[in-house]
Symmetry: C2
Subunit: 198 residues, 2 copies
């Protein structure tokens, strides 16, 4: 009944997500988004109503792409609790160096969003807040299971341990963006696991 689109919305969203991820919200202009997606302004504003809406959708997509598999890892019934946590850290280190043949990491879009936007963008803050909450619940679950099975010797509150691991993950992302190499990140992860031992 009418002219169809010549582009794939999900691919465009993906490209926009990468642009925001690499350069941040403010430093990504609508021109940059046109260049990254290969779309014209009209197509972008027709499909995603504004730069801010596009960012929200890109952030939601990023969270889906990243958090859901990580939660699945933490809830993998095939692995004992401690191994699931090790697998999570491995995945995070791998991701930090996957899309980066050389040069700095671009970090993690949720961490970047917390730092750049959470203070003055309530919608973005709510999205990353929900994400953090979900991650903390999953971490708490696997940590409590590890304590019950005896794999995790620490008697600290599982919620506190979860917040600790989550903070370490955020710190690793910042360190990677600051130029840390793979060995440094692996050492940080390994040392963090020591805190579950005592």
């Amino acid at each position: 009944m009418a002219r169809p689109r010549t582009f794939d919305e999900d691919r465009a969203l993906d490209a926009a997500m990468r642009a925001f991820w690499a350069n941040g919200y403010e430093a990504t202009s609508t021109q940059d988004l046109c260049a990254a997606t290969g779309l014209g302004r009209s197509s972008i504003y027709n499909t995603f109503s504004s730069k801010h809406d596009l960012f929200k959708r890109a952030l939601a997509r990023y969270i889906d792409l990243m958090t859901i598999p990580q939660i699945a890892l933490l809830e993998d019934p095939e692995l004992p609790p401690a191994a699931r946590i090790r697998a999570l850290f491995e995945r995070i280190v791998d991701a930090e160096f996957a899309l980066r043949p050389e040069g700095r990491s671009i970090g993690c879009l949720t961490v970047n969003t917390i730092v750049e936007l959470a203070g003055r963008d309530p919608e973005a803050a709510a999205m990353v807040g929900r994400d953090q909450e979900i991650r903390l619940v999953a971490l708490r679950g696997v940590l409590a299971a590890g304590q019950r099975s005896g794999e995790i010797a620490s008697r600290r509150d599982p919620g506190d341990l979860a917040r600790f691991l989550n903070a370490v993950i955020g710190g690793m992302r910042v360190a990677a963006q600051g130029g840390a190499d793979r060995a440094a990140l692996e050492a940080v992860a390994a040392t963090a696991l020591d805190a579950l031992a005592p």
Copy 2:
């Protein structure tokens, strides 16, 4: 021989630092800087040649104000090594809630700069990189001393332990900006210290 300034350069720099700290580099306009400092555009451009130069000076000032006392804490000969590290964490938690009667923390300008700018501003990247290096050296020193004295049981490489603590500090800053309260940060710090025990 000529008209003197009616403002204090250091006070202006301080106000600019706070503006960049709270809102980031991109989101702080030159108008914002005028409002924050109380200066006119001419005075700002006369004194600090550009927005970017002003940012560099603000960042340098922040590093001086924050890192130097922290290094001093870590090298305090009055305290045993483990106590110095605990004092550092205390100071960081305090700082995170000091200038914030309510609402979110504005985090740490060096962390914010790593996340927002390090990827595309080599000068800013070099400044925060130097700062991180200095912090790591000091941490390594106190950690090695703790290992020698037996206070720190972990036999991991002191450099790795230093990178771990530094990552935790960064993660705490991100967590605070994400809305974590004081108790959460204190739990993270306490748990991080567990990693030095085993």
